[in-house]
Symmetry: C2
Subunit: 196 residues, 2 copies
């Protein structure tokens, strides 16, 4: 067991079910799972997060579309998917997210790639970056100074999700391609802190 | 023109289109619209909010499912709908929302109807009420002390949306039936401030 996995034990707990509304085959996890198919699951249709946060991925090995999973009940896929045109029933891997306290979170947005150009430092949630004064719909690069954040394609926390962590990539996302192994868009219109 | 409408002029602006990606017939609004069909629209498929926030409703006269619309681009229905099992293309009325500054917002949740029982005072966004210590998935009554908030069925700001305002119902929501003219659920798992 790696030290990261040991740290996770006891602090994170998620249960997945093969059918909606917490029915059918289920399994509980305290540490990351790189491939639920290896546990005999072919799909996930409901999720209960008893202690979070977690990040779920469309494909094994933490690839593809991302969904942040904070404490609570997700009785069917649309409760976790921010992108309803694509039914992300197939969360096939997931791992824990390390957060900071809400008041300690900080992220810096840059209007050029590689942390160039005009920058905005944020310490709060922004359901509309445009309303804050950000003129573009793109965010070319992002530095997470502390905590974990989730950025969204559309205002009001809708659309594709990209989890951004201080403890991943050293918090440095030099271009939109760094947001994800499979970034579906370079548009970011809202951003918020991930909650413990 | 009512005093409310006069106040709105210049501070709010939204444009609606009949087709996705800001195509086809369109119309700009500076004040509330109780029925877009009276303007010749049979549907809305994309929306641009130049100055907000607004609230959109499924039916005329501010009835039915609600969608909060903060500044930004909504190129198709799933960018604004929190409930993807029901395609809310038919936002048929909308009105402006009055907010407070983010730092001045306050809301109180009660675990009994009519503001009875244990209470929680919130001044920040909570993507998971359970993570904050709220034990139920229901919120029987809510008092908005200042600003405007939006409560969601699922964690992470997914599912049905209920806009809660200090300047509406005097901020008093005595039971879940008061959240909406057509409350689809009494579950609330996340809540956040609405942004100017």
């Amino acid at each position: 067991m790696t030290s990261q996995a040991m740290e996770s034990t006891g602090n994170w707990k998620v249960t997945i079910w093969e059918e909606e509304n917490f029915q059918g085959r289920h399994c509980e996890f305290l540490v990351e799972c790189p491939n639920v198919m290896e546990r005999g699951f072919r799909k996930i249709r409901s999720i209960k997060v008893e202690s979070g946060p977690w990040i779920g991925y469309e494909y094994p090995e933490f690839q593809g579309q991302q969904c942040v999973l904070e404490q609570g009940d997700y009785p069917h896929w649309e409760a976790w998917s921010g992108n309803s045109s694509y039914r992300t029933e197939h969360l096939l891997s997931f791992r824990t997210i390390k957060c900071a306290n809400h008041s300690d979170c900080k992220v810096t947005l840059y209007n050029g790639e590689n942390f160039q150009g005009r920058k905005f430092e944020l310490r709060d949630d922004y359901p509309s970056l445009q309303a804050m004064g950000w003129c573009n719909k793109e965010v070319p690069s992002i530095k997470v100074n502390s905590g974990a954040w989730v950025a969204y394609q559309y205002p009001g926390y809708h659309g594709y999700q990209y989890v951004l962590e201080r403890d991943h990539h050293a918090g440095e996302y030099k271009s939109y391609r760094a947001y994800s192994t499979q970034a579906h868009t370079n548009q970011i219109q809202s951003i918020r802190r991930v909650q413990h």
